[in-house]
């Protein structure tokens, strides 16, 4: 993976840049010693590392603006960072960049239950947003699996999803307003506690822009009343085709579960060995969860079970208690850890039209043989968001490259069948060079022009999202 060569000019001015940053921030908020900036050398995509020139930890929107003004004036690239949990390398620095960490801004600014929103500083973690409102019976819906650690800033940058977005949507559907600082250091409020935009929907394009359009320091988030209860049903099938058809039939029948999770045999076996959740040894496993009162849940699970029976399930297990629910979820929740137990793995995030599921799984199986790497599939089947986990050995020379090549082929396949490269993790550096498989050059050009409008000097997280050859002239300008 190629990153642009750092600017010698910027590198040579490190002392000046640090001094200017120290003028606008408290001493302990500017990190510049070599051994200390190393902390920021990567995010959760640990295959790639590069210590930044410096890192700053502003404690207010005004400090963020001051930092950006300095960097803008001095021509220094800025890489915004939430909690550093990106699986796509969204917060990977270059040697000439300043990491702008938002971790010191984690306050709740306002909670309003009557109007059903919360306003927070974006360094706050996803789970602690729900933590701030759950006593009143509310929650914040997007639930990425890193929710214990990941920051709202990163959720907004990547438009994060989670297991429950079939019903509740992803970040963009739950984000009502932001306070954003442009690269020039201008503070702009967009949206708020009211719904929809009065003019162009710039909020919609900021969400998911991977920190390339501005630094979001505050967010107004929609909160929802917690459902009365939730319970899953587990189903095992002898083929992926049949499981896929069952998903489609459930949806067509008008049931809208909060989650439909799908695991294939390699993944089921790994999870069972790791977590002992009592999963059957079948080709495909579905976990479907519905919400409501006890009676409503019984009724919906009954409908789902009836549909499943048409497909001759090898196993059908309706949860009747919180303990049984926990057991059904235990294996699924341990999926990544279980695969990690076997070997190093790379987690992909392509999305496909739900109807293409059996074909895509079959092709992945064939490719697995061709590449000689095992792969387990676990994914959000209701919305087609796949998470193939490719196993490889990081200590074996060439294995990472082989794994990346395999991953790229899977993502190209996702695009070919009408899907996309990434459903919830973001492009970052990881999938940057595959963008032309999904989009034509003129489609990307339209996106680059949006960045031109927000960040004319291309200083904010500049080497991400787009193939670097397509952005070279802009970054150099």
């Amino acid at each position: 993976m190629e990153m642009p060569a750092p600017s010698e000019f910027v590198l040579s001015r490190k002392a000046d840049i640090v001094a200017r940053l120290q003028e606008v921030l408290p001493d302990d908020a500017v990190i510049h010693a070599d051994e200390e900036v190393k902390v920021y050398e990567c995010d959760a995509l640990t295959a790639y590392k590069c210590p930044p020139l410096a890192a700053v930890l502003p404690a207010s929107t005004e400090e963020v603006a001051a930092v950006l003004k300095v960097c803008h004036e001095m021509g220094v690239p800025v890489v915004p960072r939430g909690s550093g949990t990106s699986l796509a390398g969204g917060a990977l620095p270059t040697a000439d960049s300043v990491i702008l960490g938002i971790a010191r801004m984690a306050d709740v600014l306002e909670t309003d239950y009557e109007n059903r929103f919360i306003r927070v500083q974006t360094g706050r973690t996803n789970l602690s947003v729900t933590g701030a409102v759950e006593e009143e019976g509310f929650f914040y819906a997007p639930d990425p699996s890193s929710q214990l650690a990941c920051a709202i800033a990163g959720n907004i940058a990547m438009n994060s999803g989670g297991a429950h977005c079939l019903k509740y949507g992803v970040t963009t559907n739950n984000l009502m307003g932001v306070r954003v600082v442009t690269m020039e250091g201008e503070i702009i409020d967009i949206g708020g506690a009211h719904l929809d935009a009065g003019g162009l929907d710039l909020l919609g394009v900021i969400c998911g822009s991977e920190g390339q359009l501005g630094v979001v320091t505050e967010a107004t988030l929609r909160i929802l009343a917690k459902p009365e209860g939730a319970r899953p049903i587990l189903m095992g099938f002898d083929s992926n085709e049949v499981a896929g058809a069952c998903v489609s039939d459930i949806i067509k029948a008008g049931v809208l579960p909060v989650a439909i999770e799908f695991m294939d045999r390699p993944c089921i076996r790994a999870c069972e060995a790791f977590a002992g959740a009592g999963y059957p040894d079948v080709e495909a496993l579905l976990i479907v969860e519905v919400e409501g009162s006890e009676a409503e849940i019984d009724d919906q699970l009954g409908k789902i079970a009836a549909i499943a029976r048409h497909h001759n399930p090898a196993e059908l297990r309706e949860s009747a208690s919180p303990e049984e629910s926990a057991l059904i979820w235990r294996g699924r929740k341990a999926a990544f850890g279980a695969m990690g137990q076997i070997n190093d793995y790379m987690c992909l995030d392509g999305t496909i039209p739900v109807g293409e599921l059996p074909y895509v799984l079959r092709r992945i199986g064939e490719m697995s043989k061709d590449f000689g790497l095992d792969v387990g599939n676990v994914f959000h089947a209701g919305d087609g968001n796949m998470h193939p986990l490719i196993l490889f050995d990081a200590n074996k020379p060439g294995d990472l490259e082989l794994c990346e090549a395999f991953g790229a082929e899977i993502l190209k396949l996702c695009c070919e069948v009408g899907g996309c490269l990434t459903g919830e993790h973001g492009v970052g550096v990881e999938k940057r060079d595959l963008m032309l498989h999904q989009y034509a050059p003129e489609d990307l050009e339209a996106q680059l022009r949006v960045k031109d409008a927000f960040d004319p000097k291309w200083l904010l997280n500049p080497a991400k999202v787009f193939p670097i050859a397509t952005t070279a002239s802009r970054r150099a300008a």
Partner: protein, 386 residues
């Protein structure tokens, strides 16, 4: 490149826009023509129609996805969905009665104006249901963004940007939409005789309950809460809501036509249709709805009703002077929100800002974005700009 029934029509449309770009000819984009009187009057002699870019090119009920050309009549889409017992969840408003127009509303216009009705509070706006678009920008280039899958964070989300851009960034040619199952049952819990402020408190209580409310309005002295789902759900949630709202009075439960027609009327602003007066649509936070109306009453004759739990205020004021623009905008600024002039005499629409003026830094950013898509300002000039 897609190959659909409207591929050639899209190419021809792009050709026309390219020619207009080269010649600097402003264009007014026309769909079904039922909403021509919305927004600022367009300063263009030449019309470009999306009528040819019409038809459903893909519908997968099991994937909850439909893809159609922008010129497709909304009725055609709704009919196709009804066969599979599905629907557009965002419940787009039909403007014909309010604006006194005829013709067939198209899906392109629904997308271009981010047109959402009562269910917006629960199921999201049109922009939330839009999975992908194709559009022709102001240079005549066909651009695709998003796709037809429900989760997609690949690159920038220009789909949201196009939703609600009123044709000023590009001529939308195709839209991929998420659809949802139509419910087995619908019911409305109704309270009567509440003043505005109390009514909004009741709606907040309903929306803060776990009963998954899909409509919350206060109109003509009635406070209405809608629930939808399977029979078993509606049978449970209706009485549960009546109990939860007991402190606001004795609620009744409406079903069938009694329930359905009310939401159609709310969606289409039936109270103000066929009557004289300028109509405003104001989005504020729900508890600010009654405050807005209370502040305006001493300043002008005003009729009001509330959707979105109080957050969407429909106002009717005298269609004269600035149609109340200065006063309404001043209040919206104090409360935080935005006001759009939906119906007024052409001279008034030409004289006042139809859309909420933006703070200078946001306005500058918006102008730069617009310039990137339509550098010669040939697309619907005047529609969004004051």
């Amino acid at each position: 490149m897609l190959d659909t029934i409207y591929t050639d029509a899209e190419s021809a449309l792009a050709e026309d826009v390219r020619a207009a770009h080269d010649a600097g000819t402003p264009l007014e984009i026309a769909g079904g023509g039922t909403r021509k009187a919305l927004g600022g009057p367009v300063q263009a002699e030449t019309t470009i129609s999306t009528a040819g870019v019409s038809g459903i090119s893909l519908y997968e009920p099991g994937a909850l996805t439909i893809v159609a050309g922008a010129g497709t009549p909304l009725a055609e889409i709704e009919a196709a969905l009804a066969v599979e017992n599905q629907r557009l969840a965002f419940e787009p408003m039909d403007h014909r009665a309010l604006l006194g127009t005829t013709g067939e509303p198209t899906i392109g216009a629904v997308a271009a104006m981010n047109n959402s009705g009562p269910r917006r509070i629960q199921a999201g706006a049109a922009r939330d249901a839009m999975l992908g678009v194709r559009f022709v920008d102001g240079r005549g280039t066909v651009i695709r963004n998003g796709g037809r899958v429900m989760k997609n964070v690949t690159g920038y989300d220009l789909v949201k940007l196009m939703a609600g851009s009123w044709g000023t960034l590009g001529v939308i040619t195709e839209i991929a939409l998420k659809v949802l199952p139509a419910p087995e049952a619908v019911a409305t819990v109704a309270l009567s005789g509440l003043d505005d402020e109390t009514a909004i408190r009741a709606l907040s209580a309903a929306l803060g309950s776990p009963y998954d409310v899909t409509g919350a309005a206060h109109v003509d002295g009635q406070t209405l809460v809608r629930i939808e789902g399977f029979d078993s759900q509606v049978n449970h949630r209706g009485p549960a809501l009546v109990a939860a709202l007991k402190s606001f009075g004795a609620a009744t439960i409406l079903t069938g036509n009694d329930s359905d027609t009310r939401w159609v009327d709310i969606r289409d602003v039936a109270s103000f249709a066929g009557r004289d007066g300028a109509v405003w649509r104001v989005s504020v936070k729900p508890t600010d709805g009654p405050k807005l109306v209370t502040a305006l009453r001493p300043l002008m004759p005003v009729e009001a009703f509330y959707d979105w739990g109080g957050g969407l205020v429909w106002l009717m004021v005298p269609d004269a002077g600035d149609a109340g623009a200065a006063a309404i905008r001043a209040q919206a600024a104090v409360l935080g929100g935005h006001a759009t002039l939906v119906r007024a005499a052409p001279a008034i629409r030409a004289a006042v800002d139809v859309f909420e003026p933006e703070a200078p830094p946001l306005a500058a950013l918006t102008a730069r974005v617009r310039g990137e898509f339509d550098p010669k300002t040939i697309l619907n000039p005047g529609r969004m700009r004051g």
